[in-house]
């Protein structure tokens, strides 16, 4: 495999409702920041790939107009995935393996505020058996949470502790939306949103964008003192029907991690777990030990720009390697209802 690294990362501050900027205006300064940090001129970027969903803001083909933020002239090599930007990064990594180009720009954007994100995410469910009933994103997550409570020793207090830890971690993340000190027992005294999930078990609704610049081999060494080398990356998907899966485990995460070369020896893990119970499932699936720092950024519970959250996990993990704060990292991204699809990206500092 060709050596490929993340050499720069930038993200927009995550906010509940950005009424001042369209997608291009949110993205544009973030693209510029990531490009400047990478030190790679725009004209030298070999491939551009993005992740987004037009349903979020109700702007059909918004990914076409979003290209205004990267400047697609003279004509660039470009691709788009209707998925979280982590999958755009995967495509860019594959593209870099071809060997004829040395750098790639990956971006993702998501403005969830104009629409009803819970309802919009219903549209990813089976259109024949489920969509006519309109179970929303929190509803199906709550079914998974109850299944986990029933099948394991985990309690709702364990869920609250996950929320408290992530939002405490988020205090050091200037781009987070929900940060602060919360007491798990106090959180437990709040009402259910959809039982057994309370509001703190669910992610905030966020508008945001993120950009990663990748480079291969010597170019990465030239432009970055400590590139975050991708030592392995893999993604796996499970069956679509919620009733045919064991919702309390995540075999697709386990398999993706194994194929990506996860050997347990990591400093930090950035997990894309929008719901508290999903972090517990993922920790189990990845076999993370107590010594691993999980979601030092605060994770998806502190900011959840849909279609961007997974790419941010890779960026946050990579940034810690670039900054010299960690030597090895695991980043995870998810897509689909109840952790249906999972991507694992292993990175190391040298």
């Amino acid at each position: 495999m060709r050596e490929v690294a993340v050499v720069s990362f930038a993200q927009a501050p995550n906010v509940r409702r950005d009424t001042e900027h369209n997608e291009v205006e949110i993205l544009s300064p973030v693209v510029r920041e990531a490009m400047e940090r990478s030190g790679i001129p725009k004209a030298d970027i070999g491939f551009t790939c993005s992740g987004s969903s037009d349903y979020l803001a109700g702007q059909p083909f918004s990914f076409v107009t979003a290209l205004d933020a990267v400047g697609a002239w003279p004509p660039i090599r470009e691709s788009h995935v209707e998925m979280d930007g982590a999958w755009a990064l995967y495509e860019a990594w594959v593209r870099l393996q071809h060997g004829d180009i040395d750098s790639a720009l990956v971006y993702a954007y998501g403005k969830s505020s104009p629409g009803d994100i819970r309802e919009i995410l219903s549209l990813q469910l089976d259109p024949y058996y489920l969509a006519p009933l309109w179970p929303d994103a929190v509803d199906v997550a709550a079914l998974q949470a109850r299944a986990l409570l029933d099948a394991t020793d985990f309690t709702e207090r364990d869920f609250a502790a996950v929320a408290a830890r992530n939002r405490s971690n988020a205090k050091s993340n200037p781009n987070s939306q929900l940060a602060g000190d919360f007491d798990a027992d106090e959180l437990l005294s709040s009402d259910y949103l959809v039982s057994p999930l309370r509001k703190h078990d669910c992610p905030p609704i966020s508008d945001g964008a993120a950009v990663i610049v990748m480079a291969a081999g010597d170019l990465a060494r030239d432009v970055c003192e400590r590139p975050a080398w991708i030592s392995g990356i893999d993604h796996r998907i499970e069956a679509h029907g919620l009733g045919v899966r064991d919702l309390t485990t995540s075999p697709s995460t386990t398999l993706a991690a194994e194929k990506a070369g996860m050997n347990g020896n990591i400093d930090i893990a950035e997990l894309h777990a929008p719901f508290t119970h999903q972090e517990l499932i993922l920790r189990e699936a990845l076999g993370l030990s107590e010594s691993v720092s999980i979601n030092p950024s605060g994770g998806a519970l502190a900011a959840n720009p849909v279609m961007v959250t997974g790419l941010i996990r890779i960026g946050e993990a990579a940034q810690r390697l670039i900054d010299g704060d960690a030597k090895t990292a695991l980043a995870h991204a998810t897509s689909g209802p109840c952790l249906q699809q999972n991507l694992v990206c292993m990175m190391r500092a040298a």
Binding site: Y129, P132, L133, L143, A147, D150, V194, S195, G243
Partner: protein
């Protein structure tokens, strides 16, 4: 003053509605299942290893083999997991507090997602038995099952 400036720089906003008048072509397997619902019966499909999938899938989710052996299953079953909605949303199937549940019908090996009209969260538990409540007029859609209800209610 600050407020005036903010009003002048604040972005505009406007209501925007998207409507997709989709018609779903369902194919032979889902079509047969929905036809069964219209006649108030529930059919699953058997995999080669003998499991019965309800709702039926065209292909085995494990082996991807094409499936065709339909099996009628019971109209009552067991709640595998559930979630209580105390404030139903406008598009939800019931307009009063209800439970979502994955329900494994008698004779099935997989679970169907639907609503349970249980009245109160205290009536819900994993493992409880529920039965189908058919809609008065059935048309060949998943919503022909109006919801499920606790079996004791019959």
């Amino acid at each position: 003053m600050a407020e005036t400036v903010e009003t002048q720089t604040a972005g505009l906003s406007a209501p925007h509605v998207l409507e997709y008048p989709y018609t779903r072509s369902v194919g032979p397997v889902i079509g047969r299942f929905l036809g069964g619902l219209r006649d108030r019966k529930i059919e699953g499909i058997r995999t080669k290893d003998g499991r019965v999938l309800v709702p039926p899938a065209e292909y085995d989710p494990v082996t991807s083999e094409a499936l065709s052996e339909f099996v009628e299953v019971g109209q009552a079953g067991v709640v595998k997991t559930w979630a209580w909605v105390s404030e139903p949303r406008p598009k939800h199937p019931l307009d009063r507090p209800f439970a979502w549940a994955l329900i494994q019908l008698d004779g099935a090996d997989t679970a169907l997602l639907h609503a349970i009209d249980a009245g109160d969260e205290s009536k819900m538990s994993t493992g409880m038995r529920v039965q189908v409540r058919w809609r008065e007029e059935t048309v060949g859609m998943i919503t022909d099952i109006e919801c499920f209800e606790p079996e004791a209610a019959s």
